[in-house]
């Protein structure tokens, strides 16, 4: 992998309890190299989102820590970009698309003309030229998620965190958005962590997949994905190596009894 401007992430022995009887994460460790795309894959309700909330600095782990370029993370940083599953709650309906995309500029000293320019660039990069004045609720689900992606990348982050980003859009749009994200991640040379319950999506997008088991979540498998890039929906997904990886990961998630 080429040297990039992306952050290096180190998750060290992270556990999280919510009260005495609710252990969600147990002793989770993994690293993400600069510029690497890591997918965290697990069944629904396994604690993937909790892990992401810890990595993004929203909540503190009960034990262990997360280091970003060697520094322990304690709160969200403007050098991170986020895309969450539910665009209807992450985009603010009282702001138009341009203002939603410009939200990360708040509290930063950037001139108005530069803001406008970067908003236009960001919208163009996700194929939404000229949509700046529209409101999110006037757009389709897929377009709203494109707005969220534009917003996540506008500060030129060094870490991109995607939490089930395509779970709320229909199947065809999902494939389109996967390719868009793969393309933007490469252009932006950004370290990327994507959480998904979709095995195919994890393999298609990632350099490495980390499988989490159920309650409390532990890392059960790390799978390096050596599929050639650029990947395409038609060719990559029918590659025998893809199918083999798919089988391995499925077994890893389900345990031995498949």
């Amino acid at each position: 992998m080429a040297i990039t401007r992306g952050f290096k992430i180190s998750v060290r022995k992270v556990s999280k309890d919510f009260g005495v009887n609710s252990k969600v994460l147990s002793n989770i460790s993994f690293d993400v190299a600069s510029g690497e795309i890591v997918a965290i894959c697990g069944l629904s309700g396994v604690g993937k989102s909790t892990l992401l909330r810890i990595v993004s600095g929203l909540i503190a782990p009960t034990k262990g820590d997360v280091r970003i370029d060697g520094k322990v993370i304690t709160k969200p940083s403007s050098e991170m970009g986020f895309v969450t599953q539910d665009y209807s709650r992450s985009l603010f309906p009282w702001l138009n698309v341009g203002k939603n995309v410009a939200l990360p500029f708040k509290g930063h000293d950037i001139s108005k003309s530069e803001r406008n320019l970067r908003v236009q660039e960001a919208l163009a990069s996700v194929g939404l030229e000229g949509k700046s004045d529209a409101y999110p609720w006037q757009l389709s689900g897929g377009m709203q998620q494109r707005v969220a992606i534009a917003r996540a990348l506008i500060m030129k982050p060094r870490l991109l965190i995607l939490d089930e980003p395509f779970a709320s859009v229909d199947a065809y749009v999902r494939l389109e958005l996967e390719d868009l994200v793969a393309d933007l991640v490469e252009k932006n040379q950004v370290t990327t962590i994507i959480v998904t319950h979709d095995i195919d999506e994890a393999i298609y997008l990632a350099d490495r997949v980390i499988a989490l088991s159920d309650s409390p979540a532990k890392v059960t498998m790390e799978l390096v994905i050596k599929l050639q890039r650029p990947r395409t929906q038609m060719i990559t997904r029918s590659d025998p190596k893809f199918l083999k990886l798919r089988e391995t990961l499925y077994k890893g998630l389900r345990g031995a009894n498949v």
Binding site: P76, M80, D86, R89, F92, K106
Partner: protein
């Protein structure tokens, strides 16, 4: 505008029928307390004089507008601050419940003792009556901002103040508008009460005075004017809220 005119015609049917029924049923009545609509209408020209407008109506308008504006701004701001802080909610909920449970009528003597019997007392009475429902509504709406929306504010690096004013408050738009609409009626109600209690000025005082001096038609004119004011204020409110937060109504497909 065309649809508005058509809607207006449709909505006028029921009141017109009721007024017509009233006229027909009471046309031969000798009951002095229930004059017919035509008698009330005939009386309006004696009641609505420039003098009367400048004294009664102007005073009532000032009482309502100033009281409603002050009360709702104070209620929304206090509610926003209290709603965003769990500790403040714990500390202040008992005292707000205590004060708001005392009816406005019972608060008037206390306010009079502090501010005398002038315009200030009437404005303060309306403001306090409007403040509490706005406070409760806003507190609850702010306290229950969607968790994922708040996550996004955190991820964007927003501090408490910015989150309150740029995320929690706009997210509470629907509840706050509902509260403001309900507070219009509360404001009118309490305006009338404060005028009836000893002030001698305003629509409420006019109604009580007409009744006690046996000017029953005058009393009815006053009552109808109150109804018309309430109706117009509500219409104006529905118009204004769409200008204030068009995104809210459009995002819900209401306009």
């Amino acid at each position: 505008m065309k649809t508005y005119a058509r809607n207006f015609l449709w909505r006028s049917w029921v009141p017109l029928i009721l007024i017509a029924l009233w006229q027909i049923l009471l046309r031969n009545s000798t009951n002095p307390y229930f004059p017919t609509p035509s008698q009330i209408l005939a009386d309006t020209k004696y009641v609505i004089t420039p003098d009367w407008i400048m004294s009664s109506l102007k005073s009532s308008a000032l009482t309502f507008l100033a009281g409603y504006t002050l009360g709702s701004i104070a209620g929304i701001l206090l509610g926003a601050v209290i709603g965003a802080s769990e500790i403040l909610r714990e500390i202040l909920t008992p005292i707000t419940n205590f004060i708001r449970s005392i009816p406005s009528v019972a608060k008037v003597p206390v306010i009079m003792a502090m501010l005398g019997i002038g315009q200030a007392t009437r404005i303060a009475t309306v403001a306090i009556a409007v403040l509490f429902p706005m406070l409760m509504t806003t507190t609850r709406a702010i306290a229950t901002t969607d968790a994922k929306t708040l996550d996004m504010a955190n991820l964007l690096g927003f501090g408490r103040i910015r989150t309150l004013f740029e995320v929690r408050l706009p997210a509470a738009t629907g509840e706050i508008l509902t509260g403001l609409q309900a507070a219009v009626q509360i404001g009118i109600l309490v305006m009338v009460i404060s005028e009836m209690l000893g002030s001698g000025i305003g629509l409420g005082a006019f109604i009580i005075h007409s009744q006690s001096t046996f000017m029953i038609a005058d009393m009815w004119v006053g009552i109808f004017i109150l109804g018309v004011i309430g109706l117009l204020l509500n219409e104006f409110f529905l118009f204004a809220e769409r200008k204030i937060a068009p995104w809210y109504f459009r995002s819900k497909g209401l306009i």
